[in-house]
């Protein structure tokens, strides 16, 4: 593989049942391209948590996944409310998710910690009232 391959998705902000479709598609595509299984799994889990966050916290957003010869690069961008205190948001168990989200199985405050844990490089930028951008990289074995 000499050129980078890019996959783009728009995540809706009003349909929780569809959240995860982009991550599932990324996983399917990367698997089909023969990308290392463990790297695909790590990337898919991290991306899935990010996709759920776009749907429940940000009113939707954009996902761009780029496969280079040695890395899976995942960019999540939204124009949602932003995060006032990033280090607090990054701590395990901290969540502003309403009860209805919790009753759907999310909102345990483990999403951002999981995303960081499963990626080899993790960067989050957020401005209140403007939006949030997260960049995650998973190295291929």
């Amino acid at each position: 593989m000499s050129e980078a391959i890019t996959l783009r998705y728009t995540v809706p902000g009003d349909d929780f049942t569809r959240a995860g479709e982009a991550s599932a598609d990324v996983k399917r595509n990367l698997k089909r391209m023969g990308v290392d299984r463990e790297a695909v799994r790590k990337a898919a889990i991290a991306l899935y948590e990010g996709e759920i966050n776009l749907a429940i916290h940000a009113g939707g957003g954009e996902i761009t996944v780029t496969l280079t010869p040695d890395t899976i690069v995942m960019l999540l961008e939204d124009h949602g409310p932003g995060i006032p205190d990033i280090s607090l948001a990054m701590s395990e168990g901290w969540s502003t998710a309403p009860d209805e989200v919790r009753s759907l199985g999310f909102g345990a405050g483990m999403g951002l910690p999981n995303m960081k844990k499963y990626s080899d490089r993790f960067d989050i930028q957020s401005t209140v009232g403007v939006g949030t951008t997260i960049r995650m990289e998973v190295d291929l074995a």
């Binding site: 959240a19 599932a24 799994r41 790590k42 899935y48 759907l104 199985g105 483990m110």
Partner: protein
């Protein structure tokens, strides 16, 4: 433990008729919080849950899990079953509670599995 053994131990019902019941399950996870499930990688796992929505299948798919057991007699809808069947994930339902279902499988030797990333 094979999926057919899980079926028998939990006196469960198979909801995805085309599933391969000879597939080996190496680890189990019981939770209604999907992020907890996503926090630990378990190879060839089974997910036991009382949660009934499509994110259960998405989570199992992301984790490369091979089987989902709905406890307390939960009946997933058609959309959930189709999603699971398309990913070769066997779906079972049992009248057992979460606690009892996990206990019964543990008793038969199935463990939590802790292989970290």
């Amino acid at each position: 433990m094979k999926i057919c053994e899980i079926l028998a131990v939990l006196n469960a019902r198979l909801l995805t008729p085309d599933a391969d019941l000879e597939v080996d399950v190496h680890a189990a996870c019981g939770s209604d919080m999907m992020s907890d499930v996503l926090a630990y990688v378990k190879d060839q796992g089974v997910l036991l849950t009382g949660l009934n929505n499509p994110q259960v299948v998405r989570t199992a798919d992301m984790m490369d899990m091979v089987c989902i057991v709905f406890v307390r007699g939960k009946m997933p809808g058609e959309a959930i079953l189709e999603l699971a069947a398309a990913r070769d994930i066997a779906v079972l339902t049992t009248d057992q509670t979460m606690f009892s279902a996990c206990g019964l499988l543990y008793e038969k030797g199935l463990r939590g599995g802790t292989s970290h990333v």
